[in-house]
Symmetry: C2
Subunit: 271 residues, 2 copies
């Protein structure tokens, strides 16, 4: 279905704008994905937007034409509007942009199949949406099953997180849970909980990682609460040769994830 | 020296505000550091601000008192102002904040002593100031000598880069150069140039890294130009098990830097 919107006060415009806000995303269960590249990533992962919004007179693009056709076939809506209204929706001045409206992806712990992957990333209280998106991207690269968000993390469906994920939000499973829910779930099956820590830890290099390995990364300024660290099956340290005693959270998770990947690969070859 | 500023139109206010802008930083050769934690990091690395700005009635703090005393002893200025004017300077509403004005640090290639460290990070056309700051932080952690910025990188003295560096901007050497300057400088001494690449590359794990090792990380969307990759002494690949063919630039640099560190450490022990 095709629709044209020409008025700023159109309720659809108001609705789309509202999706830039976490509260409204939560209420509606939808989120925005901006840019043809991300939309193409979504499509190639089997995710089509419910609505596709672009400015009239946008330059034609082969990928966009295919996407439009698929959205229409799937019963979605193609909305054209004025460049000004598009800018109002995205909050940016790029009138060549295309915006898709997606249903939020499931974030239920019970929906995860832990044995589907050797690595899972777990973020606790991570406040920076860019860090969340970067962890999703890293998760995709190391073949992780997904990202589990513990306690009060940033919203993975914010524009910044989606952008930083570079499409990995569509390839990685997502779950959100409180620690009190996560821990019983984890202990209800196999799974090694690992964190970088300064407490009673072994060197991260060549440590005894086991699949499925859950890599726990703590809050940007506080790190992990002590009781969370104590729950870990393995605590590891990374070299810190300078003044600082910590890395950026997404960086720490990635360095550890690549080490775990190498360890599990070597084990698979030797076993 | 102590000074009180009560008027919004005071030229010092105008000057301090202007330092949020790259063009004005370049012209004046000064930059802002916000927050007691970062200022304390700077102090402990031997860097004191020329001016220290805070709102009147700020809560007292032991570290701040010491910092004030040292700034005054060094001939610097302590400026108190109203909470409103402080907010105008920082662009934020936190009136408990403290802001320091620092002289920009040297960024001359000729000033680097390459044999002072086994690892150097090199960023090419990196546009995200957060990525630059994160690379500085990672550099500190792996004991790198510093960060070399090639071509058109973001400004390392922006508030975002300084914040993301978590103080490492004061522990790491910085240099800025065009590729045409960097390459002759590099080839004028010992140094292995390494990059992650898909071209004719060996696995990054256990590759033959040599100190001083210069780890080259390319632009966030374009990666490295082909001719830059060709110049590298060693091209390595990292596993990519998902859809994506690349990592976040700061993450890629960190994973590689930790691998280089482990390789050079092992070599030092065996040699």
């Amino acid at each position: 279905m095709r629709k044209e919107i020409t008025g700023f006060s159109n309720p659809t415009v108001k609705y789309l704008r509202s999706l830039r806000d976490k509260k409204h995303r939560k209420r509606s269960g939808q989120f925005l994905v901006e840019g043809l590249r991300l939309l193409e990533d979504a499509r190639s992962c089997g995710h089509l937007p419910r609505q596709l919004v672009m400015a009239e007179g946008r330059h034609p693009h082969e990928l966009l034409s295919r996407l439009e056709a698929e959205v229409e076939t799937a019963g979605g809506e193609i909305i054209t509007t004025t460049p000004d209204i598009l800018s109002k929706i995205t909050g940016k001045s790029n009138t060549q942009s295309v915006v898709g409206v997606f249903d939020e992806l499931g974030t239920d712990l019970a929906g995860l199949n832990r044995s589907s992957a050797k690595i899972w990333l777990v973020a606790q209280d991570l406040r920076d949406p860019g860090n969340l998106g970067t962890m999703l991207r890293t998760g995709d690269a190391v073949g992780a099953g997904g990202l589990i968000l513990i306690d009060d993390c940033a919203d993975p469906f914010s524009a910044e997180a989606v952008r930083a994920s570079m499409g990995a939000i569509f390839t990685q499973e997502l779950a959100q849970a409180r620690w009190e829910e996560f821990l019983p779930w984890l202990r209800g099956g196999s799974g090694q909980l690992v964190a970088a820590s300064l407490r009673d830890a072994v060197p991260y290099r060549g440590a005894a990682y086991q699949a499925p390995c859950f890599i726990l990364v703590g809050n940007e300024s506080q790190g992990l609460p002590e009781e969370y660290e104590t729950e870990c099956d393995l605590r590891v340290t990374m070299p810190m040769r300078g003044r600082a005693d910590s890395l950026n959270a997404a960086v720490a998770g990635a360095v550890l994830a690549y080490e775990v990947l190498a360890g599990l690969d070597a084990e698979a070859q030797n076993g």
